[in-house]
């Protein structure tokens, strides 16, 4: 959305919404800054656009109702560092991104290792030609899930 359109739509609404582009290496530092400001991690999500990941970590200020989204662009095999040490409840969001998009995230404090949603297809939200990766956590399918997949294929 253009900034002009966003301003028009949110005119009269309390709380500004901004998207701040950052580098993957800055994520943890920025998360610490958000924590120090007393902001709440509101959501984190991922999308695959123009052959790269668009990763969004959104922080809400419950007093001013402002909404700040940190935006990271990453390649298919890039790895980002979890912020679950700073915001423990980021773990669910990060597990979800890892499982649905195959995004590699290291040091998640509660890592389900691709078994949060128990989906047979690896990285189902990616285009099919992008699903196979050669290394990293997304490539390591848990043995029981892989086994169940084989059995289902045989049937």
């Amino acid at each position: 959305m253009s900034e002009e359109a966003a301003d028009k739509k949110t005119a009269g609404l309390s709380g500004k919404s901004v998207i701040v582009p950052i580098q993957a290496e800055e994520l943890v530092q920025k998360a610490v800054e958000m924590k120090k400001k007393g902001l709440r991690l509101s959501q984190a999500c991922c999308s695959w656009v123009n052959n790269q990941y668009e990763i969004s970590y959104s922080f809400a200020d419950d007093e001013t109702l402002d909404y700040t989204t940190l935006r990271i662009l990453a390649g298919r095999t890039d790895e980002i560092t979890s912020i679950s040490e700073i915001y423990p409840y980021a773990a669910f969001y990060e597990n979800e991104m890892e499982e649905l998009f195959g995004l590699k995230i290291r040091y998640i404090n509660l890592d389900y290792h691709n078994r949060l949603y128990r989906i047979k297809t690896k990285a189902p939200f990616l285009p099919e030609d992008q699903r196979e990766v050669t290394s990293g956590p997304a490539a390591e399918k848990s043995p029981d899930v892989a086994e169940a997949g084989k059995k289902e294929d045989a049937n």
């Binding site: 959305m1 253009s2 359109a5 966003a6 028009k8 739509k9 949110t10 009269g12 609404l13 309390s14 709380g15 919404s17 998207i19 007393g38 709440r40 991690l41 509101s42 959501q43 999500c45 999308s47 695959w48 656009v49 668009e54 969004s56 959104s58 809400a60 419950d62 109702l65 909404y67 989204t69 915001y87 423990p88 409840y89 669910f92 649905l100 509660l110 389900y112 078994r115 949060l116 949603y117 128990r118 989906i119 189902p124 939200f125």
Partner: protein, 360 residues
Amino acid sequence: MGKKSVIPFGPQHPVLPEPIHLDLVVEDERIVEAIPNIGFIHRGLEGLAPDRDFQKYLYVVERTCGICSFGHGLGYVESIEGIMNVEVPERAKYLRVVWAEMARMTSHLMWLGFTADAFGFESLFYEAWRIREKVLDLMEMTTGGRLIYSVLKVGGVLKDITPDMQKKILDDLNEIEKETREMTRTFLDDYSVKTRLVGVGVLTKQQAHDVGACGPMARASGIVCDMRMRGYEAYADLGFEPVVSQDGDSYARCEVRINEIFASIELVRRAFERMPKEGDLAVTVKGNPDGEYFARIEQPRGEAIFYSEGHGKPALDRFRLRTPTFANLQALCETLKGAEYADVPILILTIDPCISCTER
């Protein structure tokens, strides 16, 4: 100090209405730690967005859950209207508020019934659900549906509420308010109910902030956070004030939800008073979404985030829905720490879990 053991709880359990699994680390009947596990009924509805026309995808989003369906539809159309810079007609904004608040009432009344059932007060469960039926009847009269309403569209609403219907709604709301007040006396003053709720599962204001709680869960701990304060749709004109409590226990969470029912009734009355007497219900929307937008609305269970991203094609490239239960799971684990094993069902219920939404 006793021996620690791990008790698996759910996803199938007689007292659990929702399929969530918890590994409870227990010591002497007290919970030391709770490790949540979801994903048993994940449906991948977000994954359908790139395969559907953005107008038709609204009906998928509404079907995320049968309790919050109106809110999901509302958040989705807000996100698309945000991208396309669509100004919704004033009358449609008020109608959206009326339906959103009545949907909130049905959700909270349902929760009250479940909670009464969880602490073994079955007649109270029936009473809450009997009152809820009346609200559902009003929804059916105005939208044609009791759970999935399909009355929204990008750019406005599909149906109107006629003056006759308004009169019927206002009359019925008087009755619903009276009956809910009577029921409230039992929920908030009865000795046996208080024994099960007061001081159980305390979440302090600081803890609620630290675990990212939202909705009634956060407001019961003294956090003044309600997305309706942003003034989306017609809320800015209705003098909305959030319902907050300070104690942070199960009783406070019950109290907040009950008072929110009365607040919703008042908002519906004000909406009918201030709604333009006539006007368009929708504007024509041309083109396809090109851009991205985060819409934040207040669902019955708390803040819900709707993120849509499109690049000029009929289908969105990405739709993401962050549900309040997803955010409140960590708060649940925090309240379970130190709780007695027998209180686990009540504590799970007090976050008002909607795993159907969470497993969208």
